[in-house]
Amino acid sequence: MTAIAERGHAREVATPEVTMAAALNQALADALSEDETVLVFGEDVGPLGGVFRITDGLAAKFGEARVFDTPLAESGIVGTAIGMAMNGLRPVVEMQFDAFAYPAFEQIVSHLAKFRNRTRGRVALPVVIRIPYGGGIGGVEHHCDSSEAYYAHTPGLRVVTPATPGDAYALLRQAIECPDPVIFLEPKRRYWSKQAVVLDHVGTNPKTLDQAVVRRAGSDVTLIAYGGTVGTALEAAEAAAEEDRSIEVIDLRSLSPFDDETVTASVRRTGRAIVVHEASRFCGYGAEVAARLSEQCFHYLEAPVLRVTGFDIPYPPPHLEEYHLPSVDRILEAVDRLQWQETRPAVKAGG
């Protein structure tokens, strides 16, 4: 809330609500305004404003030399972004959907991620690749992949995903300013979620790009989520509170690098942890989180670290996706399995 004085009377003016889509749009507009080397390009991002309208109005405002449609080839988009960054520009490119970024995979993994290293730091590539990812919007096949593990597994990339409009703005601005290449994953089912927030990326915490945040404090269990599942985890925590179970929710924000400090401090306090993500489980991001907690919090744990994830299946068709996505009930069921009765862990496999 912002307090302003008017005619001698103090009056509270509500901070307006913004959607994540609007926050991302504002971040791009502000970056384009403040830094003339910033470019925005991709498929349909020009006059149309992108299929999700994230780039709405930018071509009209900044001209088609700086905000432009490309031919339809993702490898071409990322490959030319690499060249433009070599020549002093800061491209922010859009992959239209998660699964449509795969043609660019070689450019991302073999070049974007490695150029700084192979040239001993002489060639930096400050490129941001925006990728709308994940399901929950009734999309047909190839429109709902959670591809974060592919990128997080690649040294040289930063992987970031916001869960709120305020973070969407701050993290995108910081990603554009970052000297490293950033894979910026946008949880498309949260594009229309709203938050009353002042959009800002330097004021309170300028280092949020690689820091996790505690979204809800609790003392019994730590839920570790990111992107689209943060909201689900918060709903689960609310439901659990009605049964007097206090759940802490951490929003990772940065998938690479990983913020051990915030996460381990929480888990050492609660002694119980569940990782929640939409992506399939096997070799998924949750495996990395569970391994780190096992390495760093073993003596504090009261129960095995559990994973609530999508199944190990190709993303299902729209009428079946509700069975696949981590739900509040599935999270609460996992909470119940965290060995609350036992003083010593029972000898049985897994959780």
Binding site: G76, G83, M86, N87, Q107, V123
Partner: protein, 377 residues
């Protein structure tokens, strides 16, 4: 309502974009000048520079092959036989232009002025790229095929946006023209009218696979018309013709007339690398036929016939090349220290906490190993 019929003739006349039916040539295999030719014979001093740099490049290449046999290089993909393309294309570039080479283009990079020891850093196994790309405007040697075509288009497009007079020349081989990135790069470059020269050295083979299994196009240069890119087919063993063709393409790009595709017909005399056995896929007769069309002998005969070069000058140049090879041998035989901390130093602008931890793990491992007593013999 507007007509739904779309205008088919969007760009230039297809005929304007097609290459000539036979390769463009300025000097015949016997050294005689071709008159008339569609290309202009370069000035005498350029012809002498082409000859000189081809002598130095060939000696560098044979030295690198020898160093590989001695175990000083991990691997070396020779470009012997392709000196006209390697040198002709590079000398046609201006200082402000960019060169995007592949792993086979070490000669081209040396010709651009990069220290040969820095060039061989990759193949010696010291570091992936041993030189500063910005100092010479030479990108790192690209090992994945055709990916660098897009980087060249990006650098060129950025140059236009920034108002810089810079052209990017990207080298690729016949095999790389089958990759999707070549298709994307030609298309992007044409749509953007980016100042790029695609220099395809068709040396007959992609490792072992002959061109007949690679493409059914009339020539690789013919691929340009589909993208709206003008193309030239040039005799890749004629350094004068390569230079003139590339210079024309660079000038067109610099004037805002967009990209050009050049197919340079040549031959790889050596195997793919020292690890390859070329006798499994080609006959010695074929190699002998191309040895008879040697690009260095061709320009030398031309210069001798015109009195621009004489035997004492050739002897002096050979001695200079020999001295450079000896210096390269000496420097490559010197052991170079490697710092394990370099593994972690350049992955990100600032090492991540994980990388700092892993660097400490390695340091501790090395310190522990150093403390262990020597095994007595």
């Amino acid at each position: 309502m507007a007509s739904v019929a779309r205008d088919i003739a969007r760009g230039r006349e297809p005929r304007e974009l097609l290459p000539t039916g036979t390769p463009l040539r300025l000097v015949e295999a016997d050294g005689q000048a071709v008159r008339p030719s569609d290309l202009d014979l370069p000035d005498d001093d350029v012809l002498l520079a082409l000859h000189r740099n081809m002598v130095l490049a060939r000696r560098f290449d044979t030295q690198a092959t020898a160093l590989t046999r001695q175990g000083r290089l991990a691997v070396y993909p020779s470009a012997r036989g392709q000196e006209a393309g390697e040198v002709g294309a590079v000398l046609a570039l201006r200082p402000q232009d960019w060169l995007f080479p592949t792993y086979r283009d070490s000669m081209a990079i040396v010709c651009r002025g990069v220290d040969p020891v820095e060039v061989l850093s990759l193949l010696r196994g010291d570091w992936h790229c041993g030189y500063d790309p910005y100092e010479y405007r030479v990108a790192p040697q690209c090992t994945p095929l055709a990916t660098n075509t897009l980087h060249a288009v990006g650098v060129a497009r950025a140059a236009r946006l920034k108002g810089e007079d810079t052209v990017a020349l990207v080298m690729l081989g016949d095999g790389a023209t089958s990759e999707g990135d070549t298709h994307a790069a030609l298309n992007f470059a044409a749509v953007w009218q980016a100042p790029v020269v695609f220099f395809v050295q068709n040396n007959g083979y992609a490792i072992s696979v002959p061109l007949s299994k690679q493409s059914a196009a009339p020539s690789l240069a013919h691929k340009g018309v589909g993208y709206g890119v003008p193309a030239m087919l040039v005799d890749g063993n004629d350094a004068a013709a390569v230079y003139a063709a590339v210079q024309r393409a660079v000038a067109a790009a610099a004037e805002g007339r967009g990209p050009t595709l050049i197919e340079s017909l040549t031959y790889r005399i050596e195997a793919h690398t020292n690890a390859d056995d070329a006798t499994r896929y080609r006959d010695q007769d074929e190699v002998d036929g191309w040895l008879a069309r040697d690009p260095l002998a061709r320009i030398r005969q031309h210069l001798l016939a015109r009195g621009l070069l004489d035997e004492p000058a050739i002897a002096a140049l050979d001695a200079e090349a020999e001295a450079e090879a000896a210096a390269l041998r000496r420097r490559m035989n010197a052991d170079r220290g490697h710092d394990p901390a370099d593994l972690f130093r350049y992955v990100y602008a600032e090492p991540t906490p994980d990388l700092r931890g892993q660097q400490q793990e390695l340091s501790a491992e090395l310190a522990a190993a150093a403390d262990e007593p020597e095994v007595s013999r």
